[in-house]
Symmetry: C2
Subunit: 140 residues, 2 copies
């Protein structure tokens, strides 16, 4: 089931299939939202070295399997790229939503980033949008 998908993803990105990578990918697939390094460390149990987690995330980033989401509290979150982001470079702009109530961060795939007119001389390469507020689950 999910194992197959995981191994396919790794293969497609020319990565060796190892326990650590499998486990981390599994965490991302199980979860809708984004994960921080410490989330992963916590949820993976005591099974993997901290360094391995760092290196795995680094590798996944470079291969374009995940992307990073800046936050205002100095704790980068990572989220799976649903569409294929070509290796290392994201041509897709992302809209991310952080819930002030539950802290969950999600990548809003359906929402497109509006184009913005910059002052003369500025060239846009990538746009990242960070919306904070109250998410669907917390809003009732």
């Amino acid at each position: 089931m999910m194992e197959q998908k995981i191994d396919e993803l790794l293969k497609k990105n020319h990565l060796s299939i190892t326990g650590g990578r499998r486990k981390i990918l599994e965490l991302f697939l199980q979860q809708d939202g984004a994960l921080s390094h410490s989330d992963i460390e916590r949820r993976a149990g005591e099974k993997f070295d901290r360094v391995t987690v760092y290196r795995t995330l680094q590798t996944f980033l470079e291969k374009g399997l995940i992307h990073s989401i800046p936050t205002s509290d100095n704790s980068i979150r990572y989220a799976l790229c649903k569409d294929d982001c070509s290796g290392g470079q994201h041509h897709d702009d992302h809209v991310h939503f952080i819930c002030n109530a539950c802290g969950t961060t999600v990548c809003l795939e359906g929402v497109t980033v509006p184009s913005i007119a910059l002052p003369d001389g500025y060239v846009t390469e990538q746009v990242e949008m960070l919306i904070s507020g109250v998410c669907k689950s917390c809003n009732h």
Copy 2:
């Protein structure tokens, strides 16, 4: 000249006037772009304790003198609020530009954040926009 402006700013925000705060405000006023904690530590010379810089930035944030800019490299930057941002709460949404060439981060005051339609159930409280690309000075 600048000293007057600095002291005024501090007084207006009910802050004691001290060497450290003066120096840090001066750095912000001299500089167009945003500064990270380590920028400040470096440029302030050896004169101030690291802890003082942290606490000063914290205080300035709370009083709304500066605002923080999330980045994807895990290093929060701070920038002066040109307009008065009411104490602690920013009702103004910001557009920030990070130059991939020189690394400078600036707060684009003239640019307004477009409103965005979120999926049902999501409530927006604040929007932060992060554009990376090539800035005016680096683009020739």
